[in-house]
Symmetry: C2
Subunit: 314 residues, 2 copies
Amino acid sequence: MTVFHWPERVTVREVGLRDGLQSIARTLPTAQKLQWIQGAYEAGIREIEVGSFVPPKLLPQLADTAELVAFAQTLPGLVVSVLVPNLKGAERAMDSGADWMLLPLSASHAHSLANLRKAPDEVVAEIGAMVEARRARGSHIRIEVGMSTAFGCTIQGRVTVDEVLRLLQAVVALGVDRVGLADTVGYADPRQVGELFAKAREVAGDKLGCGHFHDTRGLGLTNVMAALQAGETRFDACLAGIGGCPHAPGASGNVATEDLAYLMASMGLHTGIDIGRLFALRAQVAQWLAGEGLHGSIAQAGLPKTLPTPEMTA
Amino acid sequence: MTVFHWPERVTVREVGLRDGLQSIARTLPTAQKLQWIQGAYEAGIREIEVGSFVPPKLLPQLADTAELVAFAQTLPGLVVSVLVPNLKGAERAMDSGADWMLLPLSASHAHSLANLRKAPDEVVAEIGAMVEARRARGSHIRIEVGMSTAFGCTIQGRVTVDEVLRLLQAVVALGVDRVGLADTVGYADPRQVGELFAKAREVAGDKLGCGHFHDTRGLGLTNVMAALQAGETRFDACLAGIGGCPHAPGASGNVATEDLAYLMASMGLHTGIDIGRLFALRAQVAQWLAGEGLHGSIAQAGLPKTLPTPEMTA
């Protein structure tokens, strides 16, 4: 029997405003997004990906990202991040005053071509250009590379561990501040997650700093657990598990924020999140997104009588 | 980094015909239950809890249990179990020719009174009487005690580890063949599960042989993983996650059989189950139970391209 050393704190980054809303056809009005950010902040969340600097033509749902960054930066202690797909987006991110830019890099060649119209090595080259642009401007924005399809790909199928590690090493060498591993399509299993996080830590060291899991096939939280046991303490999540996958009707998207917060609270690990307030926020978002499929378990069942109390008042 | 030694095989016991159907008001016709047993068998399941010898007045849904046992015993290699709440039920189980009788013992005093109208120590005494009745008859039926509410109780709240271990020790001393730990109400968390399974194994040794988890709050599979990592290799599950909890509308019941089978297959662990056949069975049961809430993720999303192949042809 191995005695596992649990971390005291786990960071939950809310990505529903980006990963969730970009998968939903309707555009949520800016005023509601601002309320969402405010509500998440009041529930104790201190890291939020508020949007993406992609061309508004491609994702009109996220066209108000600069405005969201400006508001989010008024909330004390909130770490504000934005997704950035290319150099032009990086310039806009630096203009916006965001704390972090999150750069996607697909480990799957096929997914990379489909998503960014570039091969992975071309994306690595562009990430190099973004690092250089930051230096040239003297910007303090921090750079995280999210390795998407790190556990498999709906187009290509398998993705090799060697390819993931090769690409990780390349971007670490470029001087990015953090890397994360993402199960973009819900293919990961906990054994694979534990093994890949361990190997990725050998390559990236302390720069490995995020797990991004979808719950498409019901293994989202088992994968979070596996990464946690491999030393990861930051996880992405979407309120109400919004997002989903266009190829799997009825299937959920990212791990639900409230389920992730409950998982950690149930084990006595601190996230600073008040789950009751997340339930209230979920109910509000459910009204705004009436008709969209919401996911997640704990909001339906309610908290148990036995939940450790410190978490609830964190 | 700890290298975990994964087991080669994991046993999935289908309990939907008992734990699932007893929570559903309608009575499934015997002919459909026989098809369910046959279908589960053809999908590769080799352990099925087919029903319960409780008074038919209390659970008319399960009144045909003797007939189900008789049919199930015609399927080569199938291990047939029945739930038995008292000495009278044990006599009927021995009459029926079942391989195993599963005896519930609540670790929660309040749940024990509500469920069996006896305190836990009175239930232990009755288990002793059942062991003695088996000896007196020279029966070869095997006895498993399922420790319900081992991780908490909706009525009482917390259940102490000491009480669980004390009761486990008592029934092991009586000469039962196996004990299991059950999260009857969906209160368990993976940290607690790992710790309690480790401690229970110190008390029960190799007699500890089943994990029974509900997915009410979304942690069902994380708890399975925790027990697996603590050495457990047998798990209960209900096809389509049927069952639920009367106190939590919309919340799911037991871990879904197809999700559990997928979790194991995704990690390359053999269960002997053909998940595609489980999907077909699920579709059939969904018709029979039209209007009831079904649960589970993998049947909605479909299997990934990357699933290890040996499992699929096991």
